[in-house]
Each structure stands twice: as structure tokens, then as C-alpha cells.
């Protein structure tokens, strides 16, 4: 089974977010980058499936050279090889076209990724790729198992419940917890990752359709009003009469 896992390189969840250049670009200064946590659920599940059924896991990143430490980390966790499409990921549509171009050359049985990235929160790329390739997509899935060699069984979250879906390979799925328990690379993994193939390819010509023109941050809160624990019930009347939310 050939599995493609798409990962993005994102600011660590604890990062403070700032912008530079008249709020036109994200300030990478002092920010640690990690594999997008949602993508890690997809990556570890892919590795688990490979360990159980055989096959290969290829990691794909559409990004610039500064993503390579985290691509190596994915190899250290257990992916077999990696591809980096050398491009600034302009928008979801652009990224989806790059993934689609790689997928068309390689006949993957499944294409997995996180349900969204924690930086741009699009929830778009997986469904765009599925549509471009004309194959089914199951998003967001929190369970993925093989029924037989050609069919997978997934559970996906819907508002207020879940759905069980069986699809024939190939398909696209996006992951969320608790699809798998992300792994920390061990020393042996880190050593072998150094020699695993990481291929850098040029981007295909593709258009972006959303132009990020500026950024802003949420307004600061006006300060907290403290209520004495002895008179906790007073909170309820403040919420009704002052905040007017009850």
C-alpha cells in the first residue's frame, strides 16, 4: 500500500503571533516551527497501517527550505521518503494543485493530511485535492482502518454525531484526534532519517485565488471583573443585567 501524507510546517502551538511590514506578513522571528499537529495524526496512522499491512509512506510538503527539519522529523518518526515542492504555499488552491500534480505521477492508494493547519485553518486542501483527482474524500476522520486490501473504513465527525463510511482505494482523508497517538522520534529513527531520500521538486505552474493582503489581532479584553466566591450567585445576575448574555 502506498500512502502519501501531506504535512505543513507551522508555528508551535505556544507561539505568540505577530506581524511585520505594516501587518502584511507573519513575523517568523523567534518562532519555533513544528509539524502541523493535525498532520501528525495522519502521519502516525499511516505509519501504523504500513507496519500492519506493509507498503510505503511518503511525506509531502509544499514549502520552502526552512521546512526541511520538520520533514526530516517525519522521516525520523517512520516515513520512508519525502518530497518537498519548492514553493511558497500561497493559498489552499495553489497547494492543492501541487499535491494533485505529485499524486498524478505516483498512484497513491491513499492521501492523508490533517483536517486543517493550525496557522491558516482553511479546512480546504483535502477536499480540493479529492475534487481535482476525482476520488472520494472523507473529512474530518478520527478513525481509519482497512476492511480488506481495497476498502477502508473510516469514522468521521459530523455536527452532533459521527458517520461510518467505507470507501474503495484510492481516496483522500483528513485526520483529527483520536485517529492515532503521535510518536516522538527515537534515536534510531533520527539516525536513519538522515539518509532517507528527500527529493526537492519544482512547483508546477498553478494559480492562487485568494490573496492575503493584511493581518490583524483580536482586540484586547477590557480587564476582568472579579466576584467574591462567597457571593458567587451574583455572577448570574451580572451576566443577565450587565453583560446581557443570559
Amino acid at each position: 500500500m502506498k500512502i502519501l501524507v501531506c504535512i505543513s510546517n507551522v508555528p508551535d502551538t505556544t507561539s505568540k503571533i505577530n506581524f511585520t511590514g505594516d501587518n502584511k506578513s507573519f513575523d517568523k522571528n523567534g518562532v519555533q516551527f513544528v509539524i502541523n499537529p493535525w498532520d501528525e495524526y495522519a502521519l502516525t496512522r499511516a505509519i501504523e497501517l504500513k507496519e500492519a499491512k506493509g507498503g510505503t509512506v511518503t511525506v509531502l510538503n509544499v514549502g520552502e527550505a526552512d521546512a526541511e527539519p520538520n520533514i526530516r522529523k517525519a522521516l525520523a518518526i517512520g516515513a520512508d521518503d519525502a518530497i518537498r515542492v519548492n514553493a511558497h504555499p500561497k493559498d489552499a488552491y495553489f497547494v492543492a494543485q501541487q499535491i494533485t500534480a505529485i499524486a498524478k505521477q505516483n498512484n497513491y492508494d491513499m492521501i492523508l493530511m490533517g483536517k486543517e493547519s493550525i496557522d491558516y485553518n482553511g479546512f480546504q486542501v483535502h477536499n480540493m485535492v479529492a475534487e481535482m483527482l476525482g476520488i472520494p474524500s472523507v473529512t474530518p476522520a478520527f478513525k481509519l482502518d482497512m476492511v480488506d486490501d481495497s476498502t477502508a473504513r473510516l469514522e468521521r465527525e459530523i455536527e452532533g454525531g459521527k458517520e461510518v463510511v467505507e470507501v474503495k482505494l484510492p481516496f483522500v482523508a483528513s485526520a483529527q484526534q483520536p485517529m492515532s497517538e503521535p510518536r516522538i522520534p527515537n534515536m534510531r529513527g533520527i539516525m536513519t532519517a538522515r539518509t532517507k531520500p528527500l527529493q526537492v521538486v519544482d512547483a508546477v505552474s498553478a494559480e492562487a485565488k485568494a490573496d492575503y493582503v493584511g493581518y490583524s489581532k483580536p482586540e484586547k479584553k477590557g480587564g476582568v471583573k472579579m466576584i467574591d466566591a462567597e457571593n458567587a450567585g451574583e455572577l448570574i445576575s451580572l451576566l443577565r443585567n450587565e453583560a446581557k448574555v443570559l
Binding site: P11, T13, T14, K16, I17, P37, W38, A92, Y93, I118, Y120, N121, G122, F123, Q124, V125, N127, M128, A130, E131, M132, P136, S137, V138, T139, P140, R156, I158, E159, G160, G161, E163, V164, V165, V167, F171, Q177, K209, A210, D211, Y212, V213, G214, Y215, S216, K217, P218, K221, V224, M226, I227, A229, A232, G233, L235, I236, L239, A243, V245, L246
Partner: protein, 326 residues
């Protein structure tokens, strides 16, 4: 040219998030000097569809094919694409739900359109541009995005827009048929399992959320969260450690890697307020924090705070909430 809004049903009624999307779509239509049409699928009462007139929708296209009662992305896309073509829609509006964002993404490819999800503002349309603001960095920032294609697709963040009501207007309901084939249902779910919602409030749709953290010491104490939620008509949620410990199901986990909520009122009990948790809740309109540690970082993000033991404080809140006249 018109604005087309996709509305989702739930138990025969239209979801609140879709009423918000309809209200948004109507305002965009007015901005552009056109009208807003809705498209609905599956099991929705016709009276509920006609009532979309209150949100300014003039016409509803309705495909009642019972195979659409379950979400099947490819079939939904076909129906909405047909409606878009019929109406020459240039702006398509969805709720930023798992369904809306999925279908919107596929339509962006099929209709060659520009897509923005998680949108929090009406478009700015000066000088022929079309710019919307969307939430990015998991609630820590906003981005202004220019949608450059002829067709614009917008998935509106839940609870970011009021449901408008112009009283009494009704929309005309017209049948729509997209001639769906069996192949369109290849990825149809085998089974749909709905949660027991008890009070009937879904977390992503909720206007009030009561959330518990490790400070509650164990799942056996969750009646405090549940009773307060019930008294306030709220949904229940939890922090990441709580779902990691299996005290509560994963779908209740609110935060950067859980779900993002933006209710009118978020009450956090025994949650310290790690930056990842704040990211999931900081667009809530009013935040209440109850924690016995006065240094808990969550107080900095709160509107109201109580320093105290949840086991003393919450019963008092429950009592006061039950005494409110509804």
C-alpha cells in the same frame, strides 16, 4: 447574478448556523444590488424553508431526494453547482461547518472560484475588489483576504453574525432536481450515529458553553458542569487534558487542536487557560473563569472571574441560574 446560500437541516429545521449564513448572504446581496436565493437538501420541513424569508431570502431551491438525507459530498456538490448555474450565482455562502467547508472546497475547484473559510466580516467591495476577514492562527489573529476569481465562495464562522429577522416575509420554495446517479453516492455513509445531546444543545452551535478542566478532579464530578449547563441551556465542553484522560469524549475538547467555539458566553471551570486552550475560545463574546488559583493565566483573558473552589462556587451558580426566570 445572485447570491446563493446553502442551508443545512437538522431534525427537519434549519440549523442556526445556516440562518446566520442566510442573514449574511442577504446582506451581501444588498451590498451588490441583487437578491439572495437559498438551496436546501434532504430532510427539511417546507415551512422551515419558507420562513427563510425572514432572513431576506426570496426563493429557496429544494432537492428532496431522500438519498441526500445523509451527507455525501459529491452529491451535495452536484446539487449546489446546479443551483448556482441556474441562478448565475457569483457569490456562494455556506456555514463554516464540516459540511459547508467541505462542499465549498469542492465547489471552488468545480466552479473555478475563490474560497475563504472561517469568515468573520461582510466583504469590503470598494473599487471592484472583494475582501473578507477570516480567522487564522487558531483564533490568535485575523487575515484580510482578497477573493480574486469571478465566483466567490464564503464559509461564515459560526456565531459571528446575528440571525436577522424582518418579520413575516416568506420565501417561495421551488423544487430542484440534479439528476443524481448512483456513482454520486459512492462514498455515502453506511451508518450515522447521533450523540445523546440530553438537553439538545450541540457544542459547535451553542450560544452558551460550560467547560470543565482538570480542576474538577475526575469524571465523577462532571455533574457540576452538566447541571450548570442544563440550568443555563448550555452545551458542555472540556479542556485537552480532560479529553486526553478520557474523562470526557474527544468531541467536547475545545482548543487549538480540538474545536474552536465562539459562543456569547463561555464559562471555564477549573481550566488554567493554556495558550492552546485560549486559542479555541477567545472569540467568545463574554468569558467567565472560575479557578482556585488566582494566578491562573485564564483570568487575563476573562471578563468575569471568581477565585474559589469549583466545588463551593458552582453549586451556588447552579442555584442562582435555576432561580432565573426564563
Amino acid at each position: 447574478m445572485s447570491v446563493l446560500v446553502f442551508v443545512e437541516g437538522f431534525n427537519g429545521e434549519i440549523k442556526k448556523s445556516s440562518l446566520e449564513a442566510a442573514s449574511y448572504g442577504n446582506q451581501v446581496a444588498q451590498q451588490l444590488g441583487t437578491t439572495a436565493t437559498a438551496v436546501a437538501i434532504g430532510e427539511v420541513h417546507e415551512e422551515a424553508l419558507a420562513k427563510l424569508g425572514e432572513q431576506g431570502i426570496s426563493k429557496v431551491l429544494y432537492d428532496a431526494d431522500s438519498r441526500l438525507n445523509q451527507f455525501v459530498a459529491d452529491a451535495y456538490v452536484k446539487v449546489i453547482a446546479k443551483a448556482a448555474q441556474q441562478e448565475s450565482a457569483k457569490v456562494l455562502v455556506f456555514s463554516n461547518s464540516n459540511i459547508g467547508a467541505a462542499v465549498g472546497s469542492k465547489l471552488a475547484v468545480r466552479l473555478n472560484g475563490s474560497l475563504a473559510t472561517n469568515v468573520t466580516t461582510l466583504p469590503k467591495t470598494d473599487g471592484g475588489s472583494f475582501v473578507v476577514t477570516r480567522g487564522v492562527f487558531s483564533g490568535k489573529a485575523f487575515a484580510d483576504v482578497a477573493l480574486t476569481s469571478d465566483v466567490k465562495i464564503i464559509a461564515v464562522k459560526k456565531n459571528a453574525f446575528e440571525v436577522s429577522s424582518n418579520g413575516g416575509s416568506t420565501a417561495t420554495v421551488e423544487k430542484l432536481s440534479a439528476d443524481l446517479a448512483d456513482a454520486d453516492f459512492a462514498a455515502a455513509p453506511k451508518e450515522t450515529i447521533m450523540q445523546e445531546t440530553d438537553g439538545g444543545v450541540l457544542l459547535p452551535e451553542a450560544e452558551i458553553v460550560v467547560s470543565g478542566g482538570r480542576g474538577l478532579k475526575g469524571p465523577e464530578n462532571w455533574h457540576l458542569v452538566e447541571d450548570l449547563a442544563k440550568a443555563l441551556g448550555a452545551a458542555t465542553a472540556c479542556s485537552k487534558p480532560v479529553s486526553d484522560l478520557d474523562w470526557r469524549p474527544h468531541h467536547e475538547h475545545v482548543g487549538q487542536t480540538g474545536i474552536t467555539v465562539s459562543p456569547n458566553l463561555y464559562i471555564a471551570i477549573g481550566i488554567s487557560g493554556a495558550i492552546q486552550h485560549l486559542a479555541g475560545v477567545n472569540s467568545s463574546k463574554v468569558i467567565v473563569v472560575i479557578n482556585k488559583d488566582p494566578e491562573a493565566p485564564f483570568f487575563k483573558a476573562a471578563d468575569y472571574g471568581i477565585v474559589g473552589d469549583a466545588f463551593d462556587v458552582v453549586p451556588k451558580l447552579i442555584e442562582a441560574a435555576r432561580a432565573l426566570d426564563k
